[in-house]
Amino acid sequence: MTSAADLMDPAALQAAFRAQGYVAGDALATALRLVPALQKPLLLEGPAGVGKTEAAKTLALSLGTRLIRLQCYEGLDAQAALYEWNYARQLLYLRSAEIGGGRVDDDELYGERFLMARPLLQAIQQEVAPVLLIDEIDRADDAFEAFLLELLAEWQITVPELGTIPARTRPHTILTSNRSRELSDALRRRCLYHWVEYPTARQELEIVQARLPGIDAALARQVTDAVHALRALPLGKPPGVAETLDWAAALLCLHRDHLDAESIEATLGAVLKLREDQLLAAPTLRGVAGRGVAGRAEAG
C-alpha cells in the first residue's frame, strides 16, 4: 500500500501505475499527482477508450484506497447521486411513534439514521480519502453539473432537512468526459484539466505487453502498428486502447502468433465495431496482413 505522499514524484507514480499494468505518460502522471497535492478534482477528456476511467481505477489501486464510482446519465438527480431518505423506515418510525403514543420529533425523523448515502455523500464521509470517479459527466445535464459545484469547490453537501455535511476527508476526484456535450465554464474552472490522447505506437506496445504478459512480442507490435494505421483513417469509431487490448487478447485466445488475412477476418469485430468502418479499413488491413505474412516468412 502506498500513501499519497509516496506518489509525490511523477516517476514514482508512473512506476506504481506500471505495476498495475497502466502506462501513464509524463503529463498525465503530473496531472494525477497534482490531484492529492492541490486537493482539486481532475477533469480528463479525450476520445473513448483511451483509459480515462482506467486511470482513476489505477489511482485507487496505487493509493491502496477505495474507489467510489458515479456513472452519470441524463436526468441523474440528487437522490441518486448525493443522498436519499429511507422512506420505508421513516414510515415505520412514524407508525410506531403513533402506536407508542410518543411525539414525532422532526429532528429524529430527518436524522442521520434515516439517511442513505449515495456515492457522492459516501465519498466525503470516508476516514481515508477514497478516489471518487465521476464517470462521463457529459452525459448528465446542466442541472446536475450545478449540484456538483458545491461539492467540488467547498467539499460539503447540503441536505435541507439536516444542514451542511462537511467532508471528513477530501476524496481524490477524477471526472471524465467524452465531450458529447460542452461542460459549463464554472465546472471547468473548479478542475485541473488534462486531455488524454491516444498513446504513441511505442507506448501502446508497452501497454499491450503490460496487460497481456504472455503475448508474443512480434504479434504485439503487429497489432499496435495495425491499430495505428487504422486510427489514421477517417473512421466513424476509431479503435481505442481498449479495442487494441481486446484484439490482442482475441488473437491470443485463438492461438494466433501473427496477423494474416484469415486471423484478421476472424477477429475484426474486436477492433472495428461499425460495418462501414470495416469496409473502409479493408484495404489498409490487407496491407497489414501482407506485411505480417512477409515478416513471418523472413523470420522463418
Binding site: 497535492a37 492541490l38 412514524l94 425523523l109 460542452e182 488534462h194 486531455w195 490522447e197
Partner: protein, 410 residues
C-alpha cells in the same frame, strides 16, 4: 510548499497567468494563479518539462487551449540568451469579456482543409514539443492573403460611410399584420416539440410516487400515507435565440422579420433577440417594452442596423456572449440572406460553437424563397453543414408555414 519557490519564479508565474488571461482569454484568476504556484512548488522547477506539465494541468480548461499554452510557455520560460520564438499574436483584444476562452486559434479541421500551411494534429498531444508557426494562430479574419484582406477592409469602410450605416432610428411596423404574425409565432412554438425532460419534478399527477413529499404529508396523518404525492417528467419548453440581419441587403425583409421577432417575444418570455450588420446589439429589452400594435421604435442601433454584413464575427461574438444560456432546449434562428463580407471560416466556427450547445440551429433566408434558389453564397455554403435546416422567409406566408416546415423535418 511554495516556500521553496524562488521569489523571481513566483513573480514570473503570476505574470504568465495574467498574460494567458489578457492575451488569450483563458478563464484564470488569482485562484488559479495560487494553484499554479502551489503546483510549481510540487515539481522539480529546474525541469522545464515538469513545470510545463504541472502548469498546463492547472491553467487550461479546454483541449484547444493546450497548443496556445505550450507556445506561450515556451516563449515565456525560454532559456536566457536563446532567441525568442516567433510571437504569437494575441487572440483577443485586451478588453475582451470573460467567457471568451474558446476564442482559440483556427480549428484543426479548418487547418486541414485550409491552405495547408500548417498541418496540425487534432487536439494537443500532451508533452509534445509544440512547433508553432504564427500562421496557425492568426486571429480570426486576418489569416487570408493580403489581396483578400484589403478587399474585405474596403467593404467595411464603404459600409461605414454609407448613408444608412449607423443611422438606426425608427423601424415602422405596417399595421394590420400583427395578428397573422402572432399566429405564425404560436405555430412555431407548437411545432418545436422537445419532448419531456428526463428529470423528475413534483407534479399534481404523475407516473411516479414522490416518496419524500408523501412522507412529509404522512407525518401529519400519524404515519398513514393517505395523501400521495407524485413525480413526473415535465415538458421541455423551448427557448429561442433570434439573430436578425439588419444589413442593407436585407431591405424590407428585415422589417418583417423584426416584427416577427416581436410577435414571438409577445408569445413567449423565453426569447432573446439580437440584431447585427457590422456590429451586434441585443434587442430583447426594446421588443419587450414595445406596445403591441404600435409602430416599433428602436433606439439608435448604431452598427447593428442598415450597414454591411459581418455575419461570422457577429455570430461568434453572440456565441460567446450567450454561451452559458444556450443549451439543448435552445432553438437558434438566424434570419439573414447570407450575403456576407466576412470570412466564411469565421462563420463556420461560430456555427459549430452554437451547434455544439444548442438544440437546433435554423437559418431563415429571404433569398431561399425565390424560385430556383441554390445555396451557393459563400456564407451559406460554409454554414450549411452545421445547420439543421435552411428555410425560406421572404413573406408572411413563409413565416406562417415555418412551424409546419420544422415539424416535417422532425
Amino acid at each position: 510548499m511554495n516556500g521553496h519557490l524562488p521569489a523571481a519564479l513566483s513573480a514570473q508565474i503570476t505574470t504568465f497567468v495574467i498574460r494567458l488571461r489578457t492575451r488569450h482569454g483563458f478563464l484564470v484568476g488569482p485562484g488559479e494563479a495560487g494553484d499554479a504556484l502551489r503546483a510549481a512548488g510540487m515539481v522539480d522547477v529546474l525541469s522545464k518539462r515538469q513545470l510545463r506539465d504541472a502548469l498546463r494541468a492547472v491553467l487550461i480548461a479546454q483541449p484547444e487551449q493546450g497548443r496556445i499554452f505550450d507556445h506561450e510557455f515556451n516563449t515565456f520560460f525560454r532559456a536566457e540568451g536563446s532567441p525568442p520564438p516567433p510571437e504569437l499574436p494575441p487572440l483577443l483584444p485586451e478588453t475582451e469579456a470573460p467567457g471568451a476562452e474558446q476564442e482559440t486559434e483556427t480549428s484543426p479541421k479548418k487547418q486541414q482543409e485550409g491552405e495547408g500551411q500548417a498541418p496540425a494534429p487534432a487536439p494537443p498531444g500532451p508533452g509534445e514539443e509544440p512547433e508553432l508557426t504564427t500562421v496557425k494562430a492568426q486571429p480570426q479574419g486576418e489569416s487570408k492573403e493580403d489581396a483578400d484582406d484589403s478587399g474585405g477592409d474596403f467593404q467595411t469602410v464603404e459600409t461605414r460611410l454609407s448613408p444608412n450605416a449607423g443611422a438606426g432610428g425608427e423601424v415602422r411596423s405596417e399595421d394590420g399584420d400583427l395578428r397573422e404574425l402572432l399566429r405564425a409565432a404560436s405555430a412555431l412554438i407548437r411545432a418545436v416539440e422537445l419532448g419531456r425532460s428526463r428529470r423528475l419534478k413534483p407534479l399534481a399527477r404523475g407516473p411516479k410516487l414522490d416518496a419524500r413529499r408523501t412522507l412529509r404529508a404522512a407525518a401529519r396523518t400519524a404515519g398513514d400515507p393517505a395523501l400521495l404525492r407524485w413525480l413526473g417528467r415535465p415538458r421541455r419548453s423551448p427557448r429561442f435565440l433570434l439573430v436578425l440581419d439588419g444589413s442593407r441587403s436585407m431591405g424590407r425583409d428585415a422589417g418583417l422579420l423584426l416584427r416577427f421577432a416581436q410577435a414571438l417575444s409577445l408569445r413567449t418570455r423565453r426569447v432573446e433577440v439580437y440584431a447585427f450588420s457590422t456590429g451586434l446589439t441585443r434587442l430583447t429589452p426594446h421588443l419587450r417594452r414595445a406596445l403591441p400594435g404600435q409602430p416599433l421604435t428602436l433606439p439608435d442601433l448604431g452598427e447593428a442596423w442598415g450597414g454591411g454584413t459581418r455575419i461570422g464575427e457577429n455570430l461568434l461574438q453572440l456565441a460567446r456572449q450567450e454561451r452559458e444560456r444556450v443549451n439543448r432546449d435552445t432553438l437558434v434562428l438566424i434570419l439573414s440572406d447570407g450575403l456576407d463580407t466576412g470570412e466564411p471560416e469565421v462563420l463556420e466556427r461560430a456555427l459549430r460553437d452554437l451547434k455544439a450547445r444548442a438544440g437546433r440551429v435554423i437559418w431563415l433566408s429571404p433569398l431561399a424563397a425565390l424560385p430556383g434558389y441554390q445555396p451557393v453564397q459563400r456564407a451559406i455554403k460554409a454554414a450549411l453543414p452545421h445547420l439543421d435546416a435552411l428555410l425560406p422567409a421572404g413573406s408572411m406566408e413563409d413565416l406562417q408555414r415555418l412551424g409546419r416546415r420544422l415539424q416535417q423535418r422532425n
